[in-house]
Subunit: 152 residues, 3 copies
């Protein structure tokens, strides 16, 4: 089954690839590697869920935010590689806007990691770190950046 079919089966739709508002780009390819700019859980209306995970936001809510972020990253990968069936996730940096004593970052970032494996199968498995930031742009709850490999 293609990655697009799996997305459909999961009832998921890829968002538009966000246009960076500065002198940087959504992704950059060198050889067969694509570096994706960090993304957050952008809603269809352009706003973001905000707050500190572990204080204002629950793990379950933040898991959904990480999943939403993953959809945006898949959209950027698809645009960069032409098809999701050609991409393999290599490395993910999952950044949680968390309260200072928060300890469950992995459970939050699983929202993105689980999505990648659900859509891409074994090519969705990746090395990763899931860590807590002091703050994030727009006060959004999570930001994730990814390195992917493109197969011919």
């Amino acid at each position: 089954m293609s990655a697009d079919d799996r997305l459909k089966e999961l009832g998921l739709t890829l968002p538009e690839v966000p246009t960076p508002v500065a002198t940087y780009v959504s992704f950059k390819q060198v050889g067969d590697m694509i570096y994706l700019s960090g993304q957050g859980p952008k809603r269809a209306d352009g706003t973001y869920p905000t707050g500190k995970v572990g204080a204002d936001v629950t793990i379950e809510q933040a898991y959904e935010h990480a999943k939403q972020t993953g959809l945006g990253l898949l959209a950027a990968m698809k645009k960069a590689a032409g098809s999701l069936d050609k991409v393999e996730i290599v490395k993910l940096l999952g950044m949680v806007n968390a309260a200072p004593d928060f300890s469950d970052h992995p459970k939050v970032i699983n929202g993105c990691s689980d999505l990648f494996v659900a859509v891409l199968g074994d090519r969705g498995r990746h090395a990763r770190s899931a860590v807590g930031m002091g703050s994030l742009p727009n006060r959004m709850t999570v930001e994730i950046e990814v390195i992917v490999k493109v197969h011919p």
Copy 2:
């Protein structure tokens, strides 16, 4: 116009490449990729601007700090690649020492991104994340690390 000429036209001078004070190096090349160690806005006298952006430090001040950091990174790239005309910026991680409710990290890190494009043109465009740290070495306001590609 060469990158060195553009720097001159912009009235900018590259600083000395800082010597790491430990068992690490300023940059490491593997194949045609160079990984640069994180740098901050080091002044000529070796000190750094300090404080939390959004509390003690304004966005405008921190933009200048990110630009100063970018000059140090360009100096390291030039040393690593021999000439700035051979380098292409691939990926930037912009880390802001920010107050917990700060939300304008991209506006700060633009100080570095804008510099790279001003000096390197299209080869200066890059994927990036701009995020908020809980703290930074020397209490400095920003730290930026970069991955670049070297062209023959």
Copy 3:
């Protein structure tokens, strides 16, 4: 002298490679590069030292935690590459769970960097950033991720 012999001479033992508890993996190889997932200073009993460096934890204690983390990373590299004599450290991201005004992150992460050079010699020298996080999984004191190159 082999890296294994140097470890023995230093009186150090590699721990088991931790099994990730989610949809990610301990390391991912693409070409001759291996991306390692972030690790912390896991004790033999599976627990971690916790607290904020600069408040609850001293630099000296955290240096030892970074060294312990480095042993876990060496274990993962060895498993990935087959032998430590084939690995070269390229890039390290050292993340310290620090108090907001902490300023000595490099002195903490040196615990890992020094270990890599002690065990791997010149191939242990790397580009790096050493920075302060707002929080870390399990409230652990440090987390470190690494990119390594494998030699034939």
